[in-house]
Amino acid sequence: MMERVVRLMSTISGDKETAGPYSVLDYLLLDDAYDYGELDDALLARLNVTVIKTPLITEKPHKYDEHLVARALLSFV
């Protein structure tokens, strides 16, 4: 998970500086009870990525509930 977050951010930003208020990733939205593996909280903090954990999985154990995901995404705006 962490390697891919870093790879995603470096792919978008490339060699360019992202100084100031701009960012390429602000939020990592995760189910609050799923085991995604180890998260490096210190690294995420340095990258200014906020982890938001909320219920996203209901009946199917390895699939997100689309209504819960939509509700979570709408809460950002």
């Binding site: 977050v5 790879r7 792919t11 978008i12 490339g14 602000d26 939205l29 799923y34 085991d35 995901v69």
Partner: protein, 178 residues
């Protein structure tokens, strides 16, 4: 709807070889492939049509409507061209992690190329309330959509919040502790 879907599937069926192995194929991809072949090999028209037919909320647009392949360089220096050779579904799993990826012209030689996204895609980025990175395979879906030129700069110059709800960690081996 039924007739429209059957028409696109019929086009796909007419264009594939008899020994084409359809097992495991995505029915949605087969429908889109038929629509692509049936519309002078343009993807945008069939995406627009089916987004309306399934009553998708909002607008559905491709990142890029161009015929290109994915190319990757592995950590061990190997070059692999073609998504079907990268995902490990049709060929062996890659022997080494992916080091970098690009859009390639053709499948025979390493020919990095690129296309710029259309103006309406740029406008969509700049006027969005929220940018949510797409789900799907990390390299062949997510990063592939980030390859075209023209939108990374806009990303870096916008204050629009950006988030991702990753499916990378969702495997049968993991557990829900609820």
């Amino acid at each position: 709807m039924k007739s429209l879907i059957q028409t696109q599937l019929g086009v796909t069926q007419a264009r594939i070889h008899e020994d084409f192995d359809l097992r495991g194929a995505s029915i949605g991809n087969l429908i889109m492939a038929g629509g692509y072949l049936n519309n002078q090999q343009q993807l945008d028209p069939i995406v627009f049509l089916f987004s309306r037919l399934v009553k998708a909320l909002g607008e559905v647009k491709t990142t890029l409507d161009a015929s290109l392949h994915l190319g990757v360089e592995l950590e061990n220096g190997d070059i692999v061209l073609g998504q079907h050779r990268i995902t490990g579904k049709e060929t062996d799993i890659l022997p080494s992690p992916i080091k970098r990826m690009w859009l390639n012209k053709g499948l025979r030689n390493r020919m990095p190329t690129n296309c710029a996204i259309a103006d309406d895609r740029k406008d969509a980025i700049e006027t969005a309330d929220l940018i949510c990175y797409p789900p799907g395979s990390f390299y062949s879906s997510l990063l592939a959509n980030l390859m075209p030129e023209g939108w990374e700069r806009r990303f870096l110059q916008t204050l629009i919040p950006k988030c991702i709800c990753p499916i990378w960690g969702l495997t049968q081996n993991n557990k829900v502790y609820r």
